[in-house]
């Protein structure tokens, strides 16, 4: 048995779908954020895998992942700041209630 690309893509796909499931079902904003992180991770894996298997001499995939991680960190920090702020205002972080900005 050889560990081809497919073997890595399938778990990453699974992770991604779990992220999607979590994103659309969870109501807690932090849980949603966690799901988002899962999806991001799955994508990161794909980048790395494709880089490793198809263009082993280059490092684009790796760097993309690197930057993605950095940005994910920034984004998470900001999102959590917002969530905490919302919690202060609304004392709740249920996403269904946070629709003041609609329309």
């Amino acid at each position: 048995m050889e560990l081809t690309m497919l073997y890595y893509l399938i778990p990453s796909l699974f992770m991604f779908c779990c992220g999607v499931y979590g994103f659309v079902t969870r109501k807690n904003m932090i849980a949603i954020l966690i799901s988002l992180e899962l999806m991001l991770n799955a994508v990161d894996i794909n980048f790395v895998v494709f880089n490793r298997y198809l263009f082993p001499g280059n490092m684009e995939g790796m760097f993309f992942t690197l930057f993605a991680i950095a940005i994910a960190a920034a984004e998470t920090a900001l999102a959590i700041a917002i969530i905490i702020n919302i919690f202060r205002v609304a004392s709740d972080i249920d996403v269904r209630e946070i629709n003041k900005m609609k329309f």
Binding site: M1, G19, V20
Partner: protein, 171 residues
């Protein structure tokens, strides 16, 4: 052909990813979800290691597992009411989400398998990208060098820091 060790390693990693992903999105306690996310992130880091990207794996552990998850935990502790840290999911939305995710999984998996041959290439040899290469690529301005995105990300991070401070600050 891979060594049996790496196959076993792969199986463990894959199982960890699958199981902890599922647990992370299904558990009702949010703190547990964060913990399961941590495990998933570790598993991801393991994949990076297995694919010879050690630097990336290290970053994954340090930033994701070390930084982000800690942020999550803090925020969970800050935002949850005592004794009320679980949420009930409506079964309808659960089902819908399941169906959606499943459909997506099937569609994507089907498209993956339909190109099975292309994806069945064996892993080519690659010299492990050592720190010097990584550093040069990160700090250079030539082709395939990434100083500009690096700077962009750093500015972004700065903006996030400021933004985070401004937003979270008590009025």
């Amino acid at each position: 052909m891979e060594s049996v060790g790496s196959i076993i390693m792969y199986v463990i990693i894959a199982l960890a990813i699958v199981i902890f992903s599922i647990l992370a999105v299904t558990t009702r306690k949010i703190l547990r979800a964060a913990t399961y996310l941590l495990f998933t992130l570790f598993a991801t880091a393991a994949i990076y290691f297995q694919l010879d990207y050690e630097f990336l794996g290290a970053v994954q552990i340090a930033v994701y597992a070390g930084g982000i998850v800690v942020l999550f935990v803090f925020s969970i502790l800050l935002t949850s009411h005592p004794g009320d840290n679980s949420e009930k999911l409506a079964s309808k939305s659960k089902k819908m989400g399941l169906v959606g995710a499943a459909v997506m999984f099937i569609a994507a998996a089907w498209s993956l398998f339909s190109r099975c041959e292309m994806l069945m290439t064996s892993r080519p040899e690659m010299s492990n990208p050592d720190m010097q290469r990584v550093g040069e690529a990160l700090m250079g301005t030539a082709h395939y060098q990434y100083l500009l995105p690096f700077e962009a990300v750093s500015v972004l991070l700065l903006a996030c820091i400021i933004g985070g401070v401004v937003i979270a600050r008590k009025r």
